[in-house]
C-alpha cells in the first residue's frame, strides 16, 4: 500500500519542470525529498496533491489511479514552509475545518481536535486566533490540522524552514512519532541533508527536476550512485578532485595512495574522487593517514565541530573535525584523508567504486 508515481511529468508553458519521475512512496516511514531550492520538491508535491496539473504520467494511491481526481477528493494533508491557518478562525476551528467539511459528527470532531492539540501542546491556545500565536505555535496548528484529518497522504513541504533553530529541533523530534501508526504516506521535502538523515526512512535526491537517486536514507548516504547524488547529500559540500589511477595506486597532484580492496579492480585511467569533509581531518589517525597540504582560507566553529576551508590543487576543500584546532589563516596546514572513505566516479559521473 503506497503512493506510486509513474513517469509523473510537469510542463509549464512548454518548459519541462519535472522530468518523468517514478517513485513508490510507502507507508510507515518518512519519504524524504531532498534537494536544493528549485530542484522541484515543491512542484512534485503540488502535483501529488493535485494543485498543479500533471502533464504526463499517472499517480496511484493504494492501487487506485487518482491522477485526474480533484484535490478536494484526494484525502490528503499539506503543511507548507510558511504557516497557513485561516486567520478569522480560532485554533480549534482551524484544526476542525477539514473534519467539518467532511461532515464528521460534532463529538468526534471535538475528540480528534483535542487529541491533535494534546500531542502538539496546543491545548491552552484552542480559543486563540492564529495571529495571537508565535511562529512555532502557528506551525504546530497547521501540523495539528494535518494529523487530525484522516488522510491517506501527508505532504510536509519544508515545514520547519521558517522556524528558529531550537523550535526546529523540538518539532523535528516530534514529527516521526506524530505520524507513526496513522497509516498515511508521509512525504517530507527538505533542503538539509542533516534533516533527511535524522528523519530516516527513504530519501529521493532531487536535482534539476528529476530524482537522482532513491532508496533507504542511510544507504544512499553511504553509497551515492553518482557524483551529483553525493553532492546533494552532503553538507558541508563534498570534496572532489580529478585523480589518475595507475596500477594499484591513485595519484592526485603529488599525493599518492593505494587503491584498497574496493577500488583495486578499476581499470587504469582518470576518475573523480569524492570524500566527505568529516573524513579529512587536521590530525592523523589510524584511518586517516594520507597527508594533504593546503593553504587555510576560512575557518568556522560550530559548537563542538570546527571546519576549515583550504586550497588544494585546483579546488577548494573542506575539513570537518571535532574539537577546535589551531589554524593560522593564509598558512599551509597538513590535513589527513581517510582513503577508505573515498568514493570514485567515472567520467560520466556514475559511481565506479
Amino acid at each position: 500500500m503506497a503512493l506510486v508515481l509513474k513517469n509523473l511529468t510537469k510542463v509549464v508553458r512548454g518548459v519541462t519542470h519535472i522530468k518523468p519521475t517514478s517513485l513508490t512512496l510507502k507507508k510507515g516511514h518518512f519519504n524524504v525529498l531532498l534537494g536544493e531550492t528549485g530542484a522541484g520538491k515543491t512542484s512534485l508535491i503540488k502535483m501529488m496533491a493535485g494543485i498543479d496539473p500533471v502533464a504526463d504520467g499517472r499517480l496511484l494511491m493504494e492501487g487506485t489511479d487518482i491522477t485526474d481526481l480533484s484535490t478536494q477528493k484526494r484525502r490528503i494533508s499539506l503543511v507548507h514552509q510558511f504557516f497557513v491557518n485561516y486567520p478569522h478562525m480560532t485554533v480549534f476551528d482551524n484544526i476542525a475545518s477539514p473534519l467539518r467539511v467532511a461532515g464528521m459528527a460534532k463529538s468526534e470532531i471535538e475528540g480528534r481536535v483535542g487529541e491533535a492539540a494534546d500531542i502538539l501542546k496546543l491545548g491552552p491556545m484552542l480559543h486563540r486566533r492564529p495571529h495571537e500565536l508565535s511562529g512555532g505555535q502557528q506551525q504546530r496548528c497547521a501540523l495539528a490540522r494535518a494529523i487530525a484529518k484522516d488522510s491517506q497522504a501527508v505532504f510536509l513541504d519544508e515545514p520547519l524552514a521558517n522556524l528558529d533553530y531550537k523550535l526546529r529541533e523540538e518539532l523535528r523530534e516530534m514529527l516521526p512519532e506524530l505520524f507513526a501508526g496513522r497509516g498515511a504516506v508521509v512525504v517530507y521535502a527538505t533542503s538539509e541533508p542533516e534533516e533527511a538523515l535524522l528523519l530516516g526512512g527513504e530519501t529521493a535526491l532531487m536535482v534539476d527536476g528529476q530524482v537522482a537517486q532513491f532508496g533507504p536514507t542511510a544507504e544512499i548516504y553511504r553509497a551515492p550512485a553518482s557524483l551529483t547524488a553525493a553532492q546533494v547529500f552532503s553538507d558541508p559540500p563534498i570534496n572532489h578532485a580529478t585523480v589518475q589511477k595507475t596500477g594499484g595506486q591513485f595519484r592526485l597532484g603529488d599525493v599518492k595512495w593505494d587503491a584498497g580492496a574496493k577500488a583495486a579492480g578499476l581499470a587504469d585511467g582518470r576518475y573523480t574522487v569524492a570524500i566527505r569533509p568529516n573524513h579529512v581531518l587536521p590530525f592523523a589517525t589510524d584511518a586517516a593517514r594520507t597527508a594533504l597540504v593546503g593553504r587555510v582560507g576560512v575557518t568556522e566553529l560550530s559548537g563542538s565541530e570546527s571546519s576549515a576551508h583550504f586550497e588544494f590543487g585546483d579546488n577548494g576543500w573542506v575539513s570537518l573535525a571535532h574539537g577546535t584546532h589551531p589554524y593560522r589563516l593564509g598558512e599551509d596546514h597538513t590535513f589527513y584523508m581517510n582513503t577508505d572513505a573515498c568514493l570514485y566516479f567515472a567520467a560520466d559521473g556514475s559511481r565506479a567504486a
Partner: protein, 287 residues
C-alpha cells in the same frame, strides 16, 4: 515647574469651524424652522414640537416612509447578492481585470440626473428602446407613466444598473486580498466551492460588505434625483419616496415648519439604522 497653557485648542479650531459651517449651522437652521411657524417677512411664531407630532401622525408620511423602506430593502436584496456574484465571477488576474473594472465603474461615473433622464427616455412606451421592445416586440403592456408596478420595476432596475458596481468593486477588493494559500488549504481540506465561499471568501469580504451595505443603505434611503427625473414620484404618489415628498412639502407647498420637522425625523431614522447596522456587524471584531 511645568507651565501649562491652552494653545493646543487653536489646532482644533479649523476643524471646528469647518464642521460648524458645513453641518452644525445649516442643521440648526432646520431645527429653528422645525419648532416655529412662519408666514414670510421673517415673522416667526413658536410651535414647540407640534410639527413633529403632526408629521409622525400623518398618513402621508407613513406611506412615504413605507415606500422608502420598500425601495431600500428591494435594492439591497438585489444589489448585494448580485454584486457578490459578479465579483466572484470576475477574473483575479490577467488581461481582462482592468477591462472588467472599467466596465464596472462606468455606470457610477454618470451624473445622477443624467441616469434618470437616460432611463426615462429608455423606458418610454412608444419611443424608448426598452419601452418599445417590451410593448411592441414582446407584447407586454408596460407603461411606467400609468402603471405603478411598471414604475417600481423601472426605478429598481435603474438603481441596480447604477449602483451594483459599487458592491462589485468593494467585494472584488475583498476577494483579491485573499492569498492563494487559503484557497489551496481549503482544497486540501476537501472544501466544496460553497464551503470556500462560506468559510473563506465571505468572512474575508465581511468588512468591505459592511461598508458597501452601509453606503448603499444611506444612498438609497436618501435617493432623490434619479426617481425624480424618471417618474417624478408618480404615477400618483406610487414612487414618491421620502426625499421627493419632503421637497414637495418644502418647495411645493412651502410648509417650511413641517418640512423641517420631517427632515430631522428623516435624518434621525437614517442615522439610527446606520448606527444599528454598523454596531451589529462590527461587534464581533471588538473581542
Amino acid at each position: 515647574m511645568k507651565t501649562e497653557n491652552q494653545k493646543a485648542w487653536f489646532f482644533v479650531l479649523p476643524v471646528l469651524l469647518l464642521v460648524a459651517f458645513n453641518a452644525l449651522i445649516p442643521m440648526m437652521t432646520v431645527v429653528n424652522y422645525s419648532v416655529q411657524e412662519t408666514f414670510g417677512d421673517n415673522l416667526f411664531f413658536w410651535e414647540g414640537l407640534g410639527w413633529f407630532e403632526q408629521i409622525l401622525r400623518s398618513d402621508r408620511f407613513h406611506a412615504a416612509l413605507g415606500r422608502q423602506f420598500m425601495f431600500t430593502a428591494l435594492i439591497l436584496i438585489i444589489e448585494v447578492p448580485l454584486g457578490i456574484a459578479i465579483a466572484l465571477s470576475m477574473p483575479r488576474k490577467g488581461f481582462w481585470v482592468p477591462v472588467c473594472l472599467v466596465l464596472m465603474a462606468l455606470p457610477m461615473l454618470i451624473p445622477w440626473n443624467v441616469v434618470g433622464a437616460m432611463w426615462n427616455i429608455f423606458a418610454l412606451p412608444d419611443i424608448g428602446l426598452l419601452g418599445y421592445f417590451l410593448n411592441h416586440v414582446l407584447g407586454i403592456n408596460y407603461d411606467m407613466t400609468q402603471d405603478p408596478v411598471a414604475a417600481w420595476v423601472t426605478i429598481i432596475t435603474m438603481d441596480v444598473w447604477h449602483w451594483t458596481s459599487l458592491v462589485v468593486l468593494l467585494a472584488y477588493a475583498g476577494l483579491v486580498s485573499i492569498p492563494d494559500a487559503y484557497y489551496q488549504a481549503a482544497k486540501i481540506d476537501g472544501a466544496s466551492n460553497w464551503s470556500v465561499f462560506r468559510f473563506i471568501q465571505l468572512p474575508k469580504m465581511k468588512n468591505v460588505l459592511t461598508i458597501a451595505i452601509l453606503l448603499r443603505f444611506m444612498d438609497s434611503f436618501n435617493i432623490y434625483t434619479e426617481p425624480f427625473v424618471l417618474t417624478g414620484g408618480g404615477p400618483g404618489n406610487s414612487t414618491t419616496l421620502l426625499s421627493i415628498d419632503l421637497v414637495k412639502i418644502a418647495l411645493g407647498q412651502f410648509d417650511l415648519g413641517p418640512a423641517a420637522a420631517m427632515s430631522l425625523i428623516y435624518f434621525a431614522i437614517t442615522l439610527l439604522v446606520s448606527w444599528l447596522f454598523y454596531t451589529l456587524m462590527t461587534k464581533d471584531d471588538l473581542n
